[in-house]
Symmetry: C2
Subunit: 262 residues, 2 copies
């Protein structure tokens, strides 16, 4: 009988063309599918909880696959698959899931983190993992703008143009901005959790909050965007490299009980 497994994976998106398999460029989905196929001895394609763009990172992407040839505990897949992965893609956890588990449709929430460096000098060590801004940002104003986005809204104005999703209404459950001193400057992290995200939604929200933080627009502008349901041509999309998918949530009953120590 076929068993289904969900893998929690982390990756450095810098050298990938994104999550999803595509004709040009290496995708994380490809690299993972190849490694899983080697371990189970037949070809599978893992299915992710959603795409991440080229340069976007993950510490909690979830993907799944089914096979009828793995009879060991789910947990043993972790080391077995990692042996076949390059060092910028890692399986963190493997759990058995119910038959028919769908990593996209079954997801009930996701959390992303966006990292901004605020300093007059760049950080040579963490360059691929943040957006560097030399201007001083007003964090209080950004938090005010962020507060306007929490709740259930039509986020059409924060969706990449040309998207064709049925509805652009989403519920943002949390939008937290933290700051800490780091290397002659500040590191800001925006963590945003929602029941689902539109294409480029986190990067467009980040771009809008940075515009508010730099004084280009007021909090009222954010409210106007939500009302207008139209992408403002003045609205910037934050660069991919600052973005990281940190968690995907599923109803706990979709996971099978662990088989115990292997």
């Amino acid at each position: 009988m076929a068993s289904a497994f969900a893998l929690t994976v982390a990756y450095d998106g810098t050298r990938y063309a994104g999550w999803q398999i595509q004709p040009n460029g290496l995708a994380v989905q490809q690299v993972l599918s190849d490694a899983v196929s080697k371990v189970i001895g037949h070809s599978v394609q893992v299915q992710g909880s959603g795409r991440t763009d080229s340069g976007v990172h993950a510490t909690g992407q979830v993907c799944s696959f089914a096979t009828d040839v793995w009879s060991h505990p789910a947990d043993r897949l972790v080391q077995a698959i990692n042996r076949h992965l390059p060092r910028d893609v890692v399986v963190l956890e493997s759990r058995g899931v119910v038959a028919g588990f769908d990593p996209i449709r079954n997801a009930i929430g996701k959390r992303y983190r966006y990292t901004i460096r605020m300093s007059r000098v760049p950080d040579p060590i963490h360059h691929p993992y943040h957006w560097w801004i030399t201007r001083h940002l007003d964090i209080a104003a950004m938090r005010e703008g962020a507060a306007r986005l929490i709740g259930t809204h039509d986020f059409k104005a924060f969706e990449a143009q040309g998207s064709t999703r049925k509805t652009s209404v989403r519920t943002v459950r949390a939008l937290e901005i933290a700051e800490r001193e780091h290397l002659r400057g500040w590191e800001l992290t925006l963590e945003i959790e929602a029941n689902g995200f539109l294409y480029n939604m986190v990067r467009n929200i980040t771009g809008a909050l940075v515009a508010i933080g730099s004084g280009r627009f007021s909090t009222r502008w954010i409210e106007g965007l939500l009302e207008s349901r139209e992408r403002d041509p003045e609205g910037k999309t934050a660069p991919a490299r600052g973005l990281c998918l940190i968690r995907v949530d599923y109803p706990p009953q979709l996971f099978l009980p662990s088989e115990g120590a292997s």
Copy 2:
């Protein structure tokens, strides 16, 4: 009249053959000397506070040079030099110093940080910046061992063999071990401050403390090493990539008062 400047620099050591200019491989000193030479219009070689090995990082290396052609405030060198640097080397600060400033001899202290990841799975994002250990380390035992090393001792047993320094007596002022949860595991940081360091001293101390933390040796072994003044062939040298030079201290009177806003 010639003016002397001290630069505080940060770099990702991954792709460099180390700090010091050498016949084979690109050195950080070379890249910085080239950039400074371009800005001031004549050839100089910057002098560092000490070498760092290939793969070792820095967020607070200090180097200096003298020139008689820079008449602007010292601070303006920061952006001017950074314009000519690759993105993995950055000048954080530039200060005027007294004539004859010697970044090696005038240093009164240095601080290094060593980062260890303790987890059964690797971290795909920060791979070049830590030593990954799958075994569980006993932090309390490591702290006990660290306490034995604080103070003035002959650190000969922690010096790379073949070194020819006159004395191997150094004063370790602090050796702090911190831990925090990170990506299905723990990140340990060892910060060590001393009036000076022998070649490979931080990496050898780290290797010894990890040996104690993994239960291979007792705290008594560390005491025996200090007494023996001989490198134990069982003692491991921690890998370069986990090491970062975070501060070099000088007597404040060697720095000239800043010229004010530029």
